[in-house]
């Protein structure tokens, strides 16, 4: 519970899903990434540079800015296309949610694995609509573009607030806060999960875990 959660909702056509998701996820990650840290011996560090890149969408009248890092882009594209496939295969009414969760790692003692403590969760709810003719598609193309523009401003507003961010780590702890596997950019640790259908109920494993925990906590 001790984490912020922001919810964004979009209504798009099936073919726009991928681009819309990419646009939003990249926008968020753009603001949640820094350049690579170069630590010096006195416990100071310098921050490398981050390049940005404009991306034009094919199916939406929209252009967004993303970190120009192929690696990061590949990872996000992978997650989004998985989500898109799952959404199209689900056969349900086309509702889904993709969430981007920023977390910190906390080292635990031996028998337990490291704890991941989220501090900010962005949930993007997607509603897929089917359109009958080309004219509607054209209108949709523009409307979705406008909507996404609003969302981006929304995201920036949220990020501009002076709210909790993990403190800048020392060299030994940098892995607990930032994802240092990428060569050219260093985003906060994040993970992308998705869920199809609107049943936002907790999964079986979490329920079980809670059950056990509850019984123990009597």
């Amino acid at each position: 519970m001790n984490c912020r959660s922001e919810v964004l909702e979009v209504t798009v056509e099936a073919r726009q899903v991928e681009e819309a998701m990419l646009a939003l996820l990249h926008t968020i990650l753009l603001h949640r990434s820094t350049g690579k840290f170069h630590y010096k011996k006195e416990g100071t560090y310098s921050i490398g540079t981050v390049g940005t890149q404009d991306i034009d969408c094919d199916f939406i009248d929209f252009t967004f800015v993303r970190v120009s890092s192929e690696e990061l882009d590949r990872m996000i594209r992978k997650a989004v296309s998985e989500f898109k496939d799952a959404l199209s295969n689900s056969g349900s009414d086309g509702m889904g949610q993709i969430s981007l969760e920023f977390y910190q790692k906390k080292k635990s003692r031996w028998p337990f694995s490291d704890e991941c403590i989220p501090w900010e969760v962005w949930s993007i709810k997607v509603n897929v609509v089917n359109l009958a003719n080309e004219q509607e598609r054209q209108i949709c193309r523009e409307k979705v573009g406008e909507k996404l523009g609003e969302k981006v401003i929304n995201v920036v507003e949220v990020i501009n607030r002076h709210e909790y961010l993990p403190k800048m780590p020392t060299q030994s702890e940098v892995d607990n806060v930032f994802d240092t596997t990428l060569k050219d950019v260093q985003p906060y640790l994040y993970k992308i999960t998705y869920q199809i259908t609107d049943s936002l109920g907790t999964s079986v494993s979490t329920t079980m875990r809670r059950l056990i925990k509850d019984t123990l906590a009597l």
Binding site: M1, E163, L216, A217
Partner: protein, 842 residues
């Protein structure tokens, strides 16, 4: 030309800098994650999901807690093992000497002789299905406890390091730190580490909400009579049944059991927040209750056996040691729920109730049935004579003891006499239920309206006994609980499922950084105030939303007084300051009253003045802190002494008293002027340094309960006046001063009536009982060396100026004071006498 060239080159040089050139780059210093305590995932885990931080504090540190839990486990094993052993492995014939052991060397029977050999013993156990059943059940239970214990130890270990690293408190100093201190440190470290990421600062209320999330719901549900705990039974009349087992089941259903209303420790499930499918949800809840009821029914024999065993082993020893303890009373579980404020921690409640214990048991002892007394007297007489003969015979020749059953009959007769004696009233006791009830009220803070003025009636006593029951009844109820609980669940609670669903939907609010809490616990006068409890005009609550018995208002006062640093929302601040100012004014107004009617009447006033005026001592806390503590003690003892003197009207001479009260009057005046000048300094200094805050909080937290008592009495008094008639209600709560000219005749007509009716009576009462109560008071003073009585006298005076809010009060309401004093001139007397009688009774 050369100049131009160089300039161009410099520009180029600055561009060539962009690949990291070490010396020119901006360097950053990492703050580092210095402690692991910033941003804690599950704050509730830290704040008492299962009590954690608070619990560790209450259990006096890690070692104590660990030892306690280990012993509990061992105790469990022992109970089961010993019972099985007693039932199967002891040859009772040997013990009772019905069978002779053939020893060769001596004729003495030793204990090991009575034990059966191991193989016989185990064979007996193996053949007894019931014993095996009990053993398996208790084995499972024990394993569960063991796992829970290990889990707890892990959690508490975490909390321990939280205390040591984050709060900088060692485990050895923990038992001597008050909760207020711990809390202050938590608030402090939030600023530094930001353990909660939603806000910059944690307030006391946030911490309380986390700790008491579910308790507040329970209190609210009892307050709104939602839980089926009161029953109208054919023979017993109205009775209350609320046991630990039942409570456990309620919590299981609502809060944490599988499929409960709560998703996790901090949030209600989404579907319960929407009103749309309430009927369906109610159905689901009903069927869940049914299943849990059935599970209870199935497990009933097991729980019953367990309860009996547990009760047997925990209480037999006590009963043997002091048989009177069964006749002693304790606050019932229902009472604890009914009397609990919103946002009141366990230790606060317990200390409050314990303070009221003496008066409450005295009150209950007032009502001994005369019939029983006659019977008991005679039974005691006969039993006593038999006992005397037996003892005399034993003294003459101790062989009498060897006769069969003589020893046991002596024991039995002794027990019988003890029981009888508890039914014979104390010869020196005086019947003054009204006064006693008032003293009780000063501590328990809640009681139904119809008790006032009816304290001497048996119905009141019966109802009070629901809150304050015999220990024996408590044990009996606990024993009955496994049988009754499923019945209540299946037949009573199930019917209420729709109401419960509605309750949770309507009274749950989401607080940022805290999660879902009971909206009553917000103590918002506007939403949940009751117009009959001083929040008229401020409250917008419908009847459904109003908390009963002035719970919102009293809780608010209680919370504000126990947590002086808390900054309530604006309207709430207004309410608190208004009330405090009223109480303050009526107390300090006394000495400056222009027409003292007689000496005997100025006397209580001087006492009140003594009790309530004079922030002078407090000012000393702020102004010369270094010597303040010593000063305090000295001043307190002096005051206590003078209060004592003025309290013994029979012995002390009149003129002495007169001069005393005059002196107090002067003191009151000076202290008031001091208060006026001191407010600024105080409001400034209150937040100046944490160190000072701690010092004053240490001094003041002990007095908070007394201030709360006075406020509670005042609020009840006001409530009584208000409900007496529309007229007085009107005048009491009028806010606009421009109406005063119209309504003054009303006041004149309406107010003297209660005044004249009430005042002489209570003063008479007061005078008639003062000797007894006075003795009582003295005995209290002498009983404990620290002098509760002395404390009271001192404590009452300190808070008046002690809090920052109070200071603000004085400032804010400086102007309206003269106008309002007109209309409030009469009622103060009544209040004063009441407050006084509380002090006196104490």
């Amino acid at each position: 030309m050369a100049h131009f060239d160089t300039e161009y080159q410099r520009l180029e040089a600055s561009y060539s800098d962009s690949p990291p050139g070490e010396e020119n780059l901006l360097m950053h210093v990492p703050e580092g994650v210095k402690s692991q305590w910033h941003h804690i995932e599950n704050l509730d885990l830290i704040f008492l999901n299962t009590y954690y931080v608070y619990n560790l504090h209450q259990k006096n540190g890690f070692t104590c807690m660990l030892l306690g839990e280990i012993f509990e486990l061992v105790q469990l094993l022992f109970v089961v093992g010993f019972t099985v052993f007693l039932a199967n492995c002891v040859d009772y014939d040997v013990l009772f000497a019905n069978k002779f052991v053939n020893h060769t060397d001596s004729s003495k029977v030793t204990l090991p002789d009575a034990f059966l050999p191991v193989d016989v013993c185990s064979a007996r156990i193996r053949n007894n299905a019931f014993v095996i059943f009990v053993l398996i059940i208790s084995g499972v239970f024990w394993l569960h406890r063991l796992i829970k214990f290990i889990y707890n130890v892990c959690c508490y270990w975490e909390i321990r390091s939280f205390y040591i690293n984050a709060l900088k408190m060692t485990m050895s100093e923990l038992p001597y730190a008050t909760w207020q201190e711990v809390q202050a440190r938590i608030v402090e470290i939030q600023k530094e580490h930001q353990i909660c990421i939603h806000k910059k600062e944690l307030t006391e209320l946030d911490i309380y909400h986390r700790i008491l999330r579910f308790k507040n719901y329970m209190v609210a549900m009892v307050n709104k009579s939602l839980l089926p705990v009161r029953f109208r039974l054919p023979v017993l009349g109205e009775s209350v049944f609320y046991t630990r087992g039942l409570k456990y089941n309620f919590e299981l259903i609502f809060f944490w059991g599988p499929g409960s209303l709560f998703e996790n420790e901090w949030s209600l499930k989404q579907e319960y927040k929407r009103g749309g499918n309430r009927l369906e949800l109610a159905d689901r809840l009903a069927s869940r209750i049914l299943w849990i009821g059935i599970a209870n029914l199935l497990l009933c024999p097991v729980i019953l056996v367990w309860q009996i065993l547990y009760a047997f082993f925990s209480y037999t020893e006590v009963i043997k040691r002091e048989p009177g303890s069964l006749g002693a009373r304790c606050w019932s579980l229902y009472g604890r729920c009914y009397l609990r404020h919103f946002n009141e921690l366990d230790h606060e409640l317990m200390s409050r109730l314990s303070k009221g214990y003496k008066a409450a048991s005295k009150y209950m002892n007032c009502f001994l049935s005369p019939l029983l007394t006659v019977v008991a007297k005679n039974v005691a007489f006969f039993a006593g004579s038999l006992l005397a003969v037996l003892i005399a015979l034993t003294i003459y020749d101790e062989d009498v003891l060897a006769v069969e059953h003589v020893l046991s009959s002596i024991t039995l007769l002794g027990v019988c006499i003890t029981i009888c004696r508890s039914f014979i009233p104390d010869k020196h006791m005086v019947f003054c239920p009204e006064q006693l009830l008032r003293v009780i009220l000063a501590h328990i803070h809640y009681m139904p309206d119809h008790w006032q003025g009816n304290a001497h009636r048996y119905e009141t006593r019966d109802q009070f006994s629901q809150l304050f029951q015999y220990k024996a009844v408590f044990i009996l109820e606990e024993l009955l609980s496994p049988v009754v609980t499923p019945i209540i669940l299946i037949f009573c609670l199930r019917r209420k499922s729709l109401e419960i669903i509605d309750f949770f939907r309507n009274f749950t609010v989401e607080v940022v950084g805290v999660g879902d809490t009971c909206s009553f616990a917000q103590m918002d006068i506007r939403q949940h105030g009751h117009p009959a409890w001083m929040s008229e005009g401020k409250t917008e609550a419908s009847i459904y939303q109003q908390a009963e018995d002035g719970k919102t208002e009293l809780s608010l006062m209680h919370f504000a007084i126990t947590n002086p640093q808390w900054q309530p929302p604006r309207e709430t601040t207004h309410f608190i300051s208004q009330l405090k100012e009223r109480v303050h004014r009526e107390a300090t107004g006394a000495p400056s009253d222009t027409h003292p009617m007689s000496l005997s009447e100025s006397e209580p006033r001087s006492l009140i003045a003594n009790l309530l005026t004079g922030p002078s001592t407090l000012a000393s806390v702020h102004f010369d802190r270094d010597i303040s503590l010593a000063n305090h003690a000295a001043a307190g003892i002096n005051d206590g002494g003078s209060a004592l003197r003025s309290l013994s009207p029979i012995s002390s001479s009149l003129h002495l008293r007169g001069s005393l009260s005059a002196a107090h009057r002067v003191a009151g005046h000076t202290s008031r002027t001091m208060a006026g000048s001191g407010t600024d300094a105080r409001t400034v200094s209150s937040g100046s340094s944490a160190w000072e805050g701690q010092l004053t909080s240490l001094v003041l937290s002990e007095y908070a309960s007394t201030e709360m008592s006075i406020h509670a009495l005042y609020m009840h008094e006001l409530h009584k006046q208000q409900s007496r008639g529309e007229m007085s209600r009107h005048t009491w709560h009028r806010q606009e001063s421009d109406e005063s000219s119209d309504s003054i005749p009303d006041e004149v007509r309406s107010e003297p009536i209660p005044h004249s009716r009430n005042f002489p009576r209570s003063s008479q009462l007061w005078r008639s009982h003062i000797s007894v109560l006075n003795l009582d008071y003295l005995s209290v003073c002498f009983e404990d060396p620290f002098g509760t009585g002395v404390k009271i006298v001192r404590s009452a005076r300190v808070p008046m100026g002690g809090w920052a809010e109070d200071g603000q009060t004085a400032q804010r309401h400086h102007e309206p004071l003269p106008e309002e004093s007109l209309e409030d001139e009469m009622p103060p007397h009544i209040h004063k006498v009441n407050a006084l009688s509380f002090c006196v009774c104490y």
